[in-house]
Amino acid sequence: MPGVTRAGGSSLAGFLDRLRAFPFGAAVKGEAEVGRALAARAQVLFILRANGLELAPVLQQVHAAGKLAAVHLDLVDGLSADQGGLRWLVRCGADAAISARGDVVRSARAHGVVAIQRLLVQDEASIDHGLAAIARAEPDIVELLPGVILPHIRDLVVPRLGRPLLAGGFIRTPEDATAVLEAGALAVTTSAEALWT
């Protein structure tokens, strides 16, 4: 395991402050995107695609640039979305762990990293089930996908959530982002670089 770094101020309050300051998280899927995000205005990188076994140097770069990193445990290569995979992420220096799995989310909180639970929305039943799972897991933050529909379903989600909300998925334009933020999201996560550069 290479040397581990964790950015200063990567508590929940610090994490939220970064997103409030610039409400566009850079969703990155490759090394080149990480490099561009480090040079951009985004304060938090959401790492969706990477070799999870080689993350420590990447996270060191993120922290050296004064930014924070949330890593998607369900999507990165090389790790399983379970307690062992989560412990690895923590040791690598992730500031936040993202998963749709409640047990992983609970463990993330126990390990002192920001816990982000994904709410995957396809129909009303998935909202009900997802909100029930969130109530059980008690994540620090919820990320709704596809985020672009938040203005359409605000009434079904926001009043029942009671915790900070991110929105990701199909948010490509400033108009999309404005509508989502006005609907109640704290920030958007997007791979549209024009929004975070």
Partner: protein
């Protein structure tokens, strides 16, 4: 495939009621048991589409697909499982693969597994107008917008974005009938 999807599919479960028949109108059945499904299929007033993943007790094999087509007269059906959708098509049913429109990466991955001869049910349907045009054009037809479509504006936006059919809740039907041309 000579079966066409109705323009509007009204979602109902075991406890729902049949809507007043009308042109271009059909029913999408979900959240039922196999027993209830057979009862609903006995004398439906409108064409039926079945979300087979939401039918408790129904198998996912070719025997189940043939039962739907032959014994129940189901003409169109939805599954999120590519293999199951392929079996439905093999049984002569207009099959739609339900694809989660959560982000573009997920759709790309789902498209890679879409069997030939199978259409698409995009969920949540309300996201359809927000997909890039290039991605929308690659969704196998027919295309159903399925999930969380509650307003006239959302229905219209889905049709404008290339949907062949839109699924709505029965409580929203009356307002849709007034505004949407439901003719096939």
């Amino acid at each position: 495939m000579d079966v066409a999807l109705p323009r509007l599919l009204v979602v109902r479960g075991a406890a729902g009621s049949w809507p007043e028949p009308g042109p271009g109108l059909g029913i999408l059945i979900r959240d039922v048991t196999l027993e209830t499904l057979t009862e609903l299929c006995a004398a439906p007033p409108l064409p039926l589409t079945v979300d087979v993943d939401q039918v408790e007790g129904l198998g996912s094999d070719l025997a189940a697909a043939r039962f739907l087509a032959g014994r129940l007269g189901v003409r169109s059906a939805i599954s999120r499982r590519p293999g199951r959708a392929a079996l439905l098509a093999e049984a002569g049913i207009l099959a739609l693969l339900r694809i989660g429109a959560l982000d573009s990466t997920g759709i790309e991955r789902a498209l890679a597994t879409s069997p030939t001869g199978v259409g698409t049910a995009i969920s949540p349907g309300v996201a359809l107008p927000h997909l890039e045009a290039g991605l929308r054009s690659r969704l196998p037809r027919p295309l159903l917008a399925y999930g969380l479509i509650r307003t006239r504006a959302e229905v219209a936006a889905c049709f404008a974005s290339g949907a062949d059919s839109v699924a709505i809740r029965i409580e929203d039907l009356d307002s849709q009938r007034r505004k949407v041309d439901t003719r096939v």
